[in-house]
C-alpha cells in the first residue's frame, strides 16, 4: 500500500521536472534563436483576434451583473453612486484578468494541446526533429509569446467593455446618477488596479500557453491520449490561474503599495 502514494508522488515530480525543463528551453530559445515573425503573426491572429467575441461577451455580462448586484446592495444604504466604482475596481484587478484567462484557457489552451498532441501521435513532432528543427523553437515559442501578448490586450478589452456595459445598465436601467458615478469611479480606481490586472493577465497568458503546449507535447498514445491532454490542459490551466490569482493579489497589492 505504501507503493501507490510513492508512485503518484514520483510521477507528479517527474511531470513538474519535465514542465520546468520545457519552460527553461523556451527561455533559452527566446534568448538564442530568432523568432519567426510569420509564425508569431499566425498565432496572434488565432489567439488574439479570434478570441475576441468570447472575451467581449464574457466581459460585458460580467460587468452588467456586477453592476446590478452591487446596486441592489448599495441602494439599501443609499450609496448608489459608488456602484460603478466597485465595478471598475473589481473588473480591473480581479474579474477582468481571471475571467478572460479562463475563457482563453478553454479556447486556446485546449486547441494547443489538441493540435500538438495530434502532431505527436502522428509522428509529426519526430518529423520536425529530423528536419533539423527544435519543436520548442517552431511550435512552443510562437504560441507562448503570442498568448502572453494577446491575453493582456484581451483583458483590457474585456475590462473596458465590462465597465461600459455596467454604465449602461446602471444609468439607463437602474437610474443611477451618471455624473456622480463617474467621478466616484475615477476617484476610487487608480493606476495600481490597472497595473495589477495587466501584470496578472501577462502571467496568466504564460500559464495557458505553457500548460497547453506541455500537455500536447507529452500526450499519450492515440486519440484517447489527445483527448486526455486536451481536458487536462484546460483543467490544469484553470486551476493554476485561480490559485495563482490569490497569491498574485496578495503579492502585487504589497508591491504596488510601494509605488
Amino acid at each position: 500500500m505504501t507503493k501507490l502514494p510513492a508512485k503518484v508522488i514520483q510521477s507528479v515530480l517527474a511531470g513538474l521536472g519535465r514542465f520546468s525543463l520545457m519552460v527553461a528551453e523556451v527561455v533559452r530559445s527566446l534568448t538564442t534563436q530568432r523568432l519567426s515573425g510569420h509564425d508569431l503573426m499566425n498565432q496572434l491572429y488565432f489567439i488574439g483576434v479570434k478570441s475576441q467575441t468570447v472575451v467581449l461577451v464574457t466581459g460585458a455580462f460580467t460587468g452588467m451583473v456586477l453592476c446590478a448586484q452591487t446596486y441592489f446592495q448599495f441602494h439599501k444604504v443609499k450609496m448608489d453612486t459608488a456602484t460603478l466604482a466597485v465595478v471598475s475596481v473589481s473588473m480591473c484587478g480581479e474579474l477582468g484578468p481571471v475571467l478572460t484567462a479562463l475563457m482563453v484557457a478553454g479556447r486556446v489552451g485546449a486547441a494547443m494541446a489538441a493540435e500538438l498532441g495530434t502532431m505527436r501521435v502522428t509522428e509529426q513532432i519526430d518529423a520536425l526533429r529530423t528536419l533539423a528543427t527544435h519543436p520548442i523553437d517552431y511550435l512552443v515559442v510562437p504560441r507562448v509569446v503570442a498568448t502572453m501578448i494577446a491575453v493582456p490586450l484581451l483583458t483590457a478589452e474585456s475590462i473596458a467593455v465590462g465597465i461600459l456595459a455596467a454604465y449602461l445598465v446602471g444609468v439607463h436601467l437602474l437610474q443611477i446618477d451618471p455624473g456622480y458615478s463617474l467621478v466616484n469611479m475615477q476617484r476610487f480606481t487608480d493606476h495600481r488596479d490597472v497595473l495589477m490586472g495587466f501584470i496578472k493577465s501577462f502571467i496568466f497568458g504564460g500559464i495557458i500557453a505553457t500548460t497547453g503546449c506541455y500537455k500536447g507535447m507529452h500526450c499519450g498514445q492515440g486519440a484517447e491520449g489527445v483527448g486526455h491532454a486536451t481536458t487536462e490542459a484546460v483543467v490544469y490551466a484553470s486551476i493554476a490561474i485561480l490559485m495563482s490569482n490569490f497569491f498574485l493579489t496578495l503579492l502585487l497589492t504589497r508591491l504596488l503599495a510601494l509605488t
Binding site: T122, Q124, A127, T130, L131, H134
Partner: protein, 248 residues
C-alpha cells in the same frame, strides 16, 4: 559511417532492443527486416537520435550521438533524411511548404531557388505539379512520395525509410521500391530501409540484416537469406508462423 554497439532499450518490462550491433558503410543500401513489433522502428529512431538508449552507443562518423542534447543532435540530423511509416507530413502546410520546410527554416535561400528545388524534388519522386495541394488530399502512396521529397531536398548523406511500402497495394509498392533504388543511385546516398516485405527486400537491398528478439540475428545478401536453412530465417522469409511461438 554509422556504427551501433551493444544498443539496449527497454519500455516498461519489455526489452525491445537487447544488444544490437550493426555497422553501416558509406554508400551502401542496407535493409533491416524483422517481425512487426520487433523493434525495427525503435532501432531506426536510435540511429537518428530521436530516442536515447538505456545503454550502448550509436557512432555517426566516429562520434557517439547517444549522449548529445537535442540542439547538438539537430546539427547531426542535417546529414539525415527520414521517411516515416505514416509519412508524417505537416497537415497544416501545403505540399510545397512541407517539402521546402528545411530550406525555408534555414533563411538563406532565395524564394526562386526554393521553388526550383521543390519542383526538382517533386520531379524526382514522380509527382510534378502538386505543390499547392494539402496532405489530406493525397493518397497513401503519394504521401510517401512527398515525404521522401521532403527528406531528400536538402541533400542528406543518409536516407532512412521506415516501412516505405506497408499499407500500399503491390503495384504502388513496386513503384516505391524502384523509387528508393533510383534515389539511392542518383543522389549517391546511403539508404537504410526497414521492411517486412520480402519483395521490397530483394529489390532494394544489397545487404540485409535481420532483427530478431532484440538483436541482429543474421545478415547477408538477399539471396543468402532467401536460401537460408536456419529455421528462424527461413520461416520469416517464407512467412510461416510457428504454432509454439506467440505471434503478434
Amino acid at each position: 559511417m554509422i556504427e551501433v554497439r551493444q544498443l539496449r532499450k527497454r519500455f516498461g518490462d519489455q526489452q525491445v532492443l537487447d544488444g544490437v550491433d550493426l555497422t553501416i558503410e558509406k554508400g551502401e543500401s542496407l535493409v533491416i527486416i524483422g517481425r512487426s513489433g520487433g523493434g525495427k522502428s525503435v532501432l531506426l529512431k536510435h540511429l537518428v537520435g530521436l530516442t536515447h538508449p538505456d545503454s550502448g552507443q550509436v557512432l555517426v562518423d566516429g562520434r557517439d550521438i547517444s549522449h548529445l542534447n537535442e540542439r547538438e543532435l539537430l546539427a547531426v540530423r542535417r546529414k539525415f533524411g527520414m521517411l516515416f511509416q505514416s509519412a508524417a507530413l505537416f497537415d497544416s502546410l501545403t505540399v510545397e511548404e512541407n517539402i521546402a520546410f528545411v530550406l525555408t527554416r534555414e533563411r538563406n535561400h532565395p524564394p526562386e531557388e526554393i521553388a526550383r528545388r521543390v519542383a526538382e524534388a517533386l520531379e524526382m519522386v514522380e509527382m510534378p505539379g502538386i505543390q499547392k495541394r494539402k496532405p489530406a488530399e493525397l493518397s497513401g502512396g503519394m504521401r510517401k512520395r512527398v515525404g521522401l521529397a521532403r527528406a531528400i531536398i536538402y541533400r542528406p548523406e543518409v536516407v532512412f525509410y521506415d516501412e516505405p511500402t506497408t499499407g500500399l497495394d503491390p503495384v504502388v509498392s513496386d513503384s516505391i521500391d524502384k523509387l528508393v533504388v533510383r534515389v539511392c543511385e542518383r543522389l549517391k546516398v546511403t539508404s537504410i530501409v526497414i521492411t517486412h516485405d520480402m519483395r521490397s527486400m530483394q529489390t532494394v537491398g544489397r545487404r540485409v540484416a535481420m532483427l530478431h528478439q532484440g538483436r541482429i540475428y543474421t545478415s547477408g545478401t538477399p539471396s543468402d537469406l532467401m536460401a537460408s536453412t536456419d529455421p528462424v530465417v527461413s520461416r520469416f522469409v517464407r512467412g510461416i508462423s510457428d504454432a509454439k511461438e506467440h505471434t503478434f
